[in-house]
C-alpha cells in the first residue's frame, strides 16, 4: 500500500478496442485507438450513443464479465487490464442520488479504502484529507442523505480520491446540478488535480465548465470511432459543426433565438402579435396568501401572492430546497395549498369551481398540464404512441381524432420513428420531448414545466425552447421552474424568484 499521499498518474492505451453490450446487436464503441499519457487531462466529447460512458466504465474496470457484453481489442491502464488494476481509477457518475453508498459521510468516503484493504488508521487519515480537499467541512457522522446535489457529487469525488487513484474518471458529474453545484464540483476537481497530478478523463456536454481545466479534447463519432483529437481550442474551432450537430454546447456559439422558431415552422412576427394580446388578458392563475409544502407540517413558503399571465412565459428561480417544485405542483392543481388559495381565471375554469385542486383529474387535461422533472415518473403506456394518446382517451375523443393528433405530435417532435418503442428505453433527449408532447396532446391552456432543460444536449434545448416560445405566442400561459441562465434569457418574460423562507418550519 502506498504510504505517500500521492500515487503516480496512470497512462491509458486502447488498441482496436471495442465493446458490445450483451443486450445490443451493434457495438457501443468500435476500433478505438487512443493513447493518453500519464497526467494528461482529457475532455471526451461526442453525440449520445457514441460510447463515452462505455469507455469510462471499462477504464474503471466495472464492466463485469462475459455475461454483460463482449470486448474486442485491447484496453490497458498502466499496461494491465483495468479490472486487474482496481483502485488505480476513481469513477464519479452522473446521478448524485444513486452513488451515495453509506448513511454517514465519513463511512461513505471510507468505503473504497476498506475494499482496497487499507489499514484502519490510514483510512481515517485519508477520509479527513479527502473531505477537506473537496471542501466538505462536515462532521464525519453527518447524514449523507441530507446533502445537496453538489455536495453529494463532491462526496463521491472524496470517496474516489481517498483511494488515491492515478486516474480520475468523471461521467457527466455536473449534468444534474444547479449552477452553484456545478461550480463547487468543478473547483473541487481542479484542486484535486493540482495536488495529485492524476490523469483525468471527463465526459460532459457543457464544454465551458471544463475547458480551462483540460489540456486535450477527444471527440468520438456516432459509431464510437475517433473523430478528432488535440488541443482544446483547436479541436473546438476545427470540429465546431460536428460538435454542434452532436448536441455539444460549444462555448461562444450563441443559441439561435427566433431562428430556432423558424426551424420548427413558425414566423417570428407572431411573437409580436402575441405579446400585444398578453396585456389585455387577466392572469390565468392567481395565488392569494398561499402556503405550500409536501405535508401539512412542512411549510416551505407562505404568503405567496402571485399572478401567472396568459400568453406569457414565467420562470420560477431560487436556490435548491426553496420550494420551486412544490410551487409548480401546487399551481398545477396536484398538491393542496396548506394556506390561502390558488385560483383559476373564469376563462380557464370554464364553468368549474375556481380552485384547480378541486377539479377532477380528467378536467385538468385541457386546463393545466404539468411536465415532471423526471420523465419516467409520468410515463404510463408501453409505447410512445400510446403515451401520447393517454390524455386524449381520458377525454373520450373519437378514434380518428386521437390518431390524427398523435401522428401530428409524433412528427412535430421527431418521434415518429419511435412510435412503437417503449418510453422507458428512449434516450434522455427523446424522453424529455415525449414527456412534453404527451402533456401538450390535450392542448392545456396552462403548461407547467419542472427543470425542462436539466441534462439536455444543445439540440434538444433549442427544439424545446423554440416550441415553447411558439406556444406562448399563441396564448399559452407557461410556468417553468429552472436554473438554466440561457433558458431564463430566452423565456423569462415574467420572473418569480423564491428566497429561502425565514418562517421555514422543519418536520
Amino acid at each position: 500500500m502506498p504510504t505517500s499521499s500521492v500515487s503516480s498518474p496512470a497512462a491509458i492505451e486502447a488498441r482496436g478496442w471495442g465493446w458490445r453490450h450483451a443486450s445490443r446487436l451493434r457495438p457501443a464503441i468500435e476500433h478505438l485507438d487512443l493513447r493518453i499519457h500519464a497526467g494528461e487531462r482529457v475532455l471526451l466529447l461526442g453525440p449520445s450513443g457514441a460510447g463515452k460512458s462505455t469507455l469510462l466504465h471499462a477504464l474503471a474496470g466495472v464492466h463485469g464479465g462475459d455475461d454483460e457484453g463482449e470486448e474486442y481489442g485491447e484496453l490497458a491502464v498502466d499496461g494491465v487490464a483495468p479490472s486487474a488494476a482496481r483502485g488505480r481509477a476513481g469513477l464519479v457518475l452522473q446521478d448524485p442520488d444513486s452513488q451515495v453508498i453509506l448513511a454517514r459521510v465519513g463511512d461513505d468516503v471510507a468505503f473504497g479504502c476498506e475494499n482496497l484493504g487499507v489499514p484502519r488508521d490510514e483510512i481515517w487519515h485519508r477520509v479527513r484529507a479527502a473531505l477537506a480537499e473537496v471542501g466538505l467541512g462536515l462532521p464525519l457522522d453527518h447524514p449523507s442523505s441530507a446533502l445537496s446535489g453538489g455536495q453529494k457529487q463532491r462526496l463521491a469525488l472524496a470517496g474516489a480520491i481517498a483511494m488515491r487513484p492515478g486516474l480520475l474518471l468523471l461521467d457527466e458529474p455536473t449534468a444534474n446540478l444547479d449552477p452553484d453545484g456545478v461550480r463547487e464540483v468543478r473547483d473541487a476537481v481542479g484542486r484535486v488535480l493540482d495536488r495529485t497530478r492524476a490523469t483525468l478523463v471527463v465526459v460532459e456536454h457543457r464544454v465551458d465548465v471544463w475547458l480551462d481545466l483540460v489540456d486535450r479534447v477527444v471527440v468520438l463519432g456516432h459509431d464510437g470511432r475517433l473523430l478528432a483529437d488535440g488541443a482544446p481550442r483547436e479541436v473546438l474551432a476545427e470540429q465546431r459543426q460536428v460538435l454542434l450537430d452532436a448536441g455539444v454546447w460549444v462555448p461562444g456559439v450563441p443559441v439561435p433565438g427566433s431562428a430556432a422558431a423558424d426551424a420548427v415552422g413558425r414566423a417570428s412576427e407572431v411573437g409580436a402579435a402575441g405579446s400585444a394580446d398578453r396585456i389585455s388578458l387577466e392572469p390565468a392563475l392567481t395565488t392569494r396568501g398561499l402556503a405550500i409544502g409536501r405535508r401539512a407540517n412542512a411549510v416551505v413558503q407562505r404568503g405567496l401572492d402571485l399572478g401567472i399571465a396568459a400568453g406569457a412565459s414565467t420562470v420560477v428561480t431560487g436556490p435548491n430546497g426553496v420550494g420551486k417544485s412544490t410551487l409548480a405542483l401546487t399551481l398545477g392543481g396536484l398538491l393542496r395549498p396548506l394556506e390561502g388559495h390558488v385560483e383559476a381565471s373564469r376563462v380557464l375554469a370554464a364553468g368549474l369551481r375556481r380552485e384547480p385542486i378541486a377539479w377532477r383529474s380528467r378536467e385538468l387535461l385541457t386546463r393545466i398540464g404539468t411536465v415532471f422533472q423526471e420523465p419516467e415518473h409520468q410515463f404510463v403506456a408501453s409505447t410512445v404512441a400510446g403515451e401520447l394518446s393517454v390524455g386524449l382517451r381520458a377525454l373520450r375523443l373519437e378514434e380518428p381524432a386521437i390518431t390524427a393528433r398523435v401522428d401530428e405530435l409524433l412528427q412535430r417532435l421527431r418521434l415518429d420513428h419511435l412510435a412503437r418503442a417503449n418510453p422507458f428505453t428512449l434516450s434522455g433527449g427523446e424522453k424529455r420531448r415525449l414527456s412534453v408532447a404527451a402533456v401538450l396532446a390535450t392542448r392545456p391552456s396552462v403548461l407547467i414545466l419542472d427543470e425542462p432543460t436539466f441534462g439536455q444536449d444543445r439540440l434538444t434545448w433549442i427544439e424545446l425552447t423554440a416550441l415553447l416560445r411558439g406556444l406562448v405566442d399563441d396564448g399559452l400561459a407557461l410556468v417553468s421552474v429552472t436554473h438554466d441562465a440561457a433558458f431564463i434569457a430566452e423565456l423569462g418574460d415574467e420572473r418569480i424568484a423564491l428566497a429561502p423562507s425565514t418562517s421555514r418550519e422543519f418536520a
Binding site: A60, G61, R86, G87, A89, L93, D95, S98, Q99, V100, I101, L102, A103, R104, G106, D107, F111, G112, C113, E114, N115, L116, G117, P119, R120, I123, V127, P143, S145, A146, A156, G159, A160, M163, R294, A298, G321, L329, L334, L335, S361, R362, L364, L365, G369, T370, F372, E374, E376, H377, Q378, F379, V380, A381, V390, A394, F424, A438, T442, A507
Partner: protein, 265 residues
C-alpha cells in the same frame, strides 16, 4: 426534502448500559429471551418476564414517556390480541356472556390475560433493545462478529438506503397520474403502471449503485479491512446472561406455579 430522511435513531433517548452493547448481541439477547416465551401460553411466565424486563429497562433509563412514544404499537396490539382471545378463545369453566360465535368464559378470560401480557413481554424488549440500532453498526457486527459474508451484508445495507428514493418516486408518480388525466378511476390499473415504473426505476438505480460500489473496489479479491471496528466485550456477555436468566426464571416460575402450558399440547 432530504432532511426528513434522517434516521429515527438520532432522536431516540440514550440508554445506560444497553447502548454499550453491540447490536448483534442485542439481537442474540432478544432471541434468547423471547423464544422460550413462545413455547408456553400461560400468564405466570409472561408476567414474570415482563416485570423483570420493566425493572431492568427502568434502570437503563427508559421513562414511561419513552415507553409510550416508542412502544405504542405494541401497547395497542397487546390488548387487541387479548380482546380477540377473550371473545373467541377456547371456552372452559363458567360462561358469562355469549353472542353468536363469541363466548366469554373463565377459560377465555385467563387466555386473554395470558396473551396480552405475552405480547408485551415479547414485543417490549424487541422494540426497546433496538431503539438505537444504527443499520451501519448492525451490518458491521453481522460481518465482523458473526462473520456473515461481507458482500451480502454491505450490499443489503447500501440497497436499503434506496428505499427512501423509491418512496419519493412513488409519490411523484401518484401526482403525475392525476396530471395525466387518469387519476379519477381505474385505481387497480393505475397501481399496475406505477408498480411497473417503480420496478424499472429500482433496477436502474440498483445497477447504478452497484456500479458505484464496484468502482470503489467492492467485490474485489483483496481482503477487506474495516474502518469501524465492531467489538464485543463484557457488557455483551452480561446482556446475554440477563436474557437467558429472565427466560429460565419465568419458565421455572410457570412450572412451579403449575400453569406451564406448552403450545404443542
Amino acid at each position: 426534502m432530504s432532511a426528513e430522511t434522517l434516521p429515527a435513531v438520532l432522536d431516540a433517548p440514550r440508554l445506560r448500559f444497553v447502548d454499550r452493547v453491540n447490536p448483534v448481541s442485542r439481537l442474540a439477547a432478544a432471541m434468547l429471551l423471547t423464544t422460550p416465551l413462545l413455547l408456553t401460553v400461560d400468564w405466570v411466565s409472561a408476567a414474570t418476564a415482563l416485570v423483570i424486563q420493566l425493572v431492568l429497562f427502568a434502570l437503563a433509563g427508559v421513562t414511561p414517556s419513552t415507553l409510550l412514544r416508542r412502544a405504542w404499537p405494541i401497547l395497542i396490539a397487546a390488548p387487541v390480541a387479548g380482546v380477540s382471545m377473550l371473545l373467541y378463545g377456547q371456552p372452559s369453566g363458567e360462561e358469562y356472556w355469549s353472542f353468536w360465535l363469541a363466548r366469554i368464559t373463565d377459560g377465555s378470560i385467563e387466555l386473554a390475560i395470558a396473551v396480552t401480557v405475552r405480547v408485551l413481554a415479547i414485543g417490549l424488549p424487541a422494540v426497546l433493545l433496538f431503539m438505537h440500532v444504527d443499520p451501519t453498526e448492525l451490518a458491521d457486527g453481522l460481518a465482523q462478529v458473526w462473520h456473515l459474508p461481507s458482500r451480502f451484508v454491505l450490499g443489503a445495507l447500501a440497497g436499503a438506503r434506496l428505499v427512501g428514493l423509491f418512496i419519493e418516486d412513488w409519490q411523484a408518480m401518484s401526482l403525475s397520474r392525476r396530471a395525466r388525466g387518469i387519476g379519477d378511476h381505474g385505481a387497480l390499473r393505475r397501481f399496475a403502471t406505477m408498480a411497473f415504473a417503480l420496478l424499472v426505476l429500482a433496477i436502474r438505480r440498483g445497477s447504478k449503485l452497484a456500479t458505484a460500489m464496484e468502482a470503489r473496489g467492492f467485490g474485489s479479491e483483496v481482503p477487506r479491512t474495516w474502518a469501524r471496528e465492531s467489538r464485543v466485550g463484557w457488557p455483551d456477555l452480561v446482556l446475554i446472561l440477563l436474557a437467558v436468566t429472565i427466560a429460565v426464571v419465568s419458565i421455572a416460575a410457570a412450572v412451579w406455579a403449575g400453569t406451564f402450558h406448552a403450545v404443542w399440547s
